[in-house]
């Protein structure tokens, strides 16, 4: 019981009302300016055209506050992180075990005759990121799944402190390496918002090119893993070949296979090194190959059988959780920042929405990804055409804010990436990245309805998330 309980409860009530009215819960974080300063709770809410922050300051030396999780279930992991980082107890949180800090294992969730736990990880079979899945099972069915993500916690959020924005964008690129461009964009959007500067239109187009190629590479990676899980050797090899082609195209454009070093505060570092005509030809050729392979994959019935009805997320859960990216879209909850809160070249390029889906299973998640790939090729074509007419334009404007705080976002292949950045005297004093991987991974607890052990690789691959972005 603390003095601010009424204030915190009032804020939660306001938050709940806004979520009921259609806003989306986009995160809850704690910050503290200095060691002895009071802890500030910031809840991010995505509205129709913006993302806003609601704040409350806990009293000095407060050791607890009334938890948000009982009211807003999506805060479940966020409050565990707050507990890990600051030791403040969210009173009433249902399961307050360590999430990103190494600690004791969670107690078993289900009890009963013949139930046992199969641990997978943290060193997993194959070349995968470190995470431990504790599968609670009577043999085949999976009544419950526990996840321990803390093994690869790297302390990324704290490393931002003290950096100049120019250095910090390099760290943002390495926060979730497979979505380097999206993280760099979200960070730069926050800094640009603070400075009130707008990147030149040529730079905005270059950003779109890299962001969309990143999306195609990520979606192909998911398809590779799904085809591999189904044992389709030729499809796996073909899709891996296309992914390699995309990455080589990116490296020919900028020197890095992950588009690193391109996005800088105020614009981009350089134009693609490929001539516009060559870029257009490459995109055309890729589009043809990928579209044809996708059509063949989606006509292979032995493959579709493994995905249909596997790991379904229900539309009501997608909506209450605010599921991001393809996972949300597959379950009827589509909030794509390129459409709803557009940035860079997207307002001019007119992104069209993907089809409405309801089933929310692994099959529809893959369908959504193919639709997004089509969309990306369309955007690439138009962005490349536009860029051909602007080759002489400026690529960067001065962007050196000294102090302030702002949110920045970008639509990564996994969904919305959100950065809460604070600067003072030209240096980062606080930076809280929130990846779509963090927000969405917790949903994996809930999708094993009727699925069995051999469905596990399909469900994991169909989520398409990166552990690096979860444990930070």
């Amino acid at each position: 019981m603390t003095m601010t309980e009424p204030e915190v409860q009032a804020l939660w009530k306001e938050l709940e009302a806004r979520l009921a009215a259609g806003d989306r819960f986009a995160g809850l974080f704690a910050t503290r300016a200095a060691d002895r300063d009071p802890v500030v709770l910031s809840a991010h809410v995505a509205t129709a055209g913006d993302i806003e922050t609601l704040q409350v300051t806990l009293p000095p030396y407060a050791t607890s506050y009334p938890a948000l999780t009982p009211r807003v279930g999506a805060a479940f992991w966020y409050e565990r992180v707050i507990h890990d980082q600051f030791g403040v107890v969210p009173e009433g949180h249902p399961r307050l075990a360590p999430l990103i800090r190494p600690g004791d294992p969670l107690p078993r969730h289900v009890e009963g005759y013949g139930l046992f736990t199969i641990p997978h990880g943290p060193v997993r079979s194959g070349v995968l990121e470190s995470i431990e899945y504790l599968v609670e099972t009577p043999g085949e069915a999976i009544p419950h799944l526990n996840m321990r993500v803390f093994y690869k916690h790297r302390g990324v959020a704290r490393r931002f402190a003290g950096m100049t924005p120019r250095d910090a964008v390099l760290l943002a690129e390495r926060t979730e390496g497979i979505a380097s461009v999206a993280h760099a964009l979200a960070f730069c959007h926050a800094v640009e918002r603070m400075a009130g500067c707008v990147p030149p239109s040529a730079a905005a187009l270059v950003r779109v090119l890299h962001a969309e190629l990143e999306r195609i590479a990520n979606h192909l990676d998911v398809a590779v893993r799904l085809a591999d899980a189904a044992g389709l050797a030729v499809a796996t090899a073909r899709l891996a070949l296309h992914k390699e082609r995309v990455m080589r195209l990116v490296s020919r454009m900028c020197g890095s296979r992950f588009g690193r070093g391109v996005v800088v505060p105020g614009g981009v570092s350089a134009l693609p090194r490929l001539a516009p005509a060559e870029l257009r030809d490459e995109v055309e050729q890729l589009a043809r190959q990928v579209t044809s392979e996708a059509a063949a994959l989606m006509a292979t019935s032995s493959f579709l059988d493994r995905l249909r009805g596997t790991g379904p997320l229900t539309p009501p859960r997608a909506r209450t959780h605010g599921a991001l990216g393809p996972i949300g879209k597959a379950a009827g909850f589509a909030d794509d920042n390129r459409l709803t809160r557009p940035y860079d070249g997207y307002p001019d390029l007119a992104v069209w929405p993907t089809r409405a889906h309801q089933a929310g299973d692994a099959l529809v998640r893959l369908r959504v990804r193919w639709e997004e790939v089509d969309q990306s090729f369309g955007l690439l074509r138009r962005a490349a055409e536009e860029l051909a007419e602007r080759t002489g334009d400026q690529l960067r404007v001065a962007c050196e804010p000294t102090s302030g705080r702002a949110l920045g976002w970008a639509e990564a292949p996994q969904g919305e990436v959100l950065y809460d950045v604070a600067l003072a005297a030209g240096r980062v004093t606080g930076c809280q990245p929130r990846s779509a991987s963090f927000h969405n991974l917790v949903l994996m607890h809930e999708v094993f309805t009727g699925d069995i052990l051999t469905d596990f690789p399909f469900i994991e691959a169909s989520f398409g998330l990166s552990v690096a972005g979860v444990a930070l």
Partner: protein, 264 residues
């Protein structure tokens, strides 16, 4: 299913013949930064302050780049093109001792390299045509895993060289470690190493695994994996590309020497 039989024949052979034949993509590969004009009279701070990870040092008028810290941001190359340049090709980024990644060579590091080479040769003699790798992610950003997975695809096709990825450390000859050394992974990494039979070779793959990169000095990482397991091959790159990792693997199995020459 028959559609896949025909599709498998499309595009012909896409697999590289590297290292038996040169590959243009490997030759054009952009590696870590290096000094082109090592003896400069510029104020030292002007050069050292360029690097976000402190990879640039100036001692006695000699400019050095520690490629094991270079995250390939390219700032030094862009701002002082007369002093720094990108290294080209894939062979330069792998070294047998940590100091060997410092360019130009530190005085007196030659003996250590020779000793390390002899130690490695001793072990790799046992690794012939069938080599198994165990990969461990010790806090990577996820990009290194993509580059290792690429090696299993049709373009690089690791299997043509007799190299395979294995799930069990009991079958593994090579431990391929990525990531800055997250404290939570120290135990599992060490356990995996201990579970491997000898002789074994450890590769620290990527600038993060070598030195911690931008995370070096952070409270949640050891700043490179060298303090947890004994590293034999240090591979720079953020991330190192598929050819870079392939090169390090071929050094690990004794197929290539660190200077890029065939050793058998």
């Amino acid at each position: 299913m028959s559609i896949w039989v025909l599709r498998g024949l499309r595009d012909g052979v896409v697999t590289t013949r590297w290292p038996a034949k040169p590959d243009p993509y490997a030759d054009a590969w952009r590696g870590p930064a290096r000094p082109v004009d090592a003896s400069r009279s510029d104020p030292a701070a002007d050069l050292t302050d360029l690097c976000p990870t402190g990879a640039i040092t100036v001692t006695g008028g000699t400019v050095r780049v520690d490629q094991g810290r270079c995250i390939l941001c390219g700032r030094c190359v862009a701002e002082r093109p007369g002093v720094f340049a990108w290294s080209q090709g894939v062979t330069g980024a792998a070294a047998l001792v940590r100091e060997q990644l410092v360019i130009p060579e530190l005085p007196g590091s030659g003996a250590a390299v020779a000793a390390a080479r002899a130690r490695l040769a001793e072990r790799t003699r046992a690794l012939r045509r069938s080599v198994h790798i165990r990969h461990v992610d010790a806090g990577s950003d996820g990009s290194e895993e993509w580059e290792i997975q690429a090696l299993l695809g049709p373009v690089y096709d690791l299997h043509r060289l007799g190299v395979f990825v294995t799930a069990s450390p009991r079958h593994a000859d090579v431990l391929l470690v990525t990531g800055a050394g997250a404290l939570g992974m120290s135990g599992p990494l060490r356990t995996t190493y201990d579970a491997m039979p000898g002789p074994k070779v450890v590769i620290a793959a990527g600038t993060d695994a070598v030195s911690g990169g931008l995370l070096a000095g952070g409270a949640a990482v050891t700043g490179g994996v060298g303090t947890t397991v004994p590293v034999d091959i240090w591979l720079a790159g953020s991330p190192p590309g598929p050819f870079g990792i392939l090169n390090a693997l071929l050094i690990a199995v004794g197929y290539l020497a660190p200077d890029g020459k065939r050793s058998r």
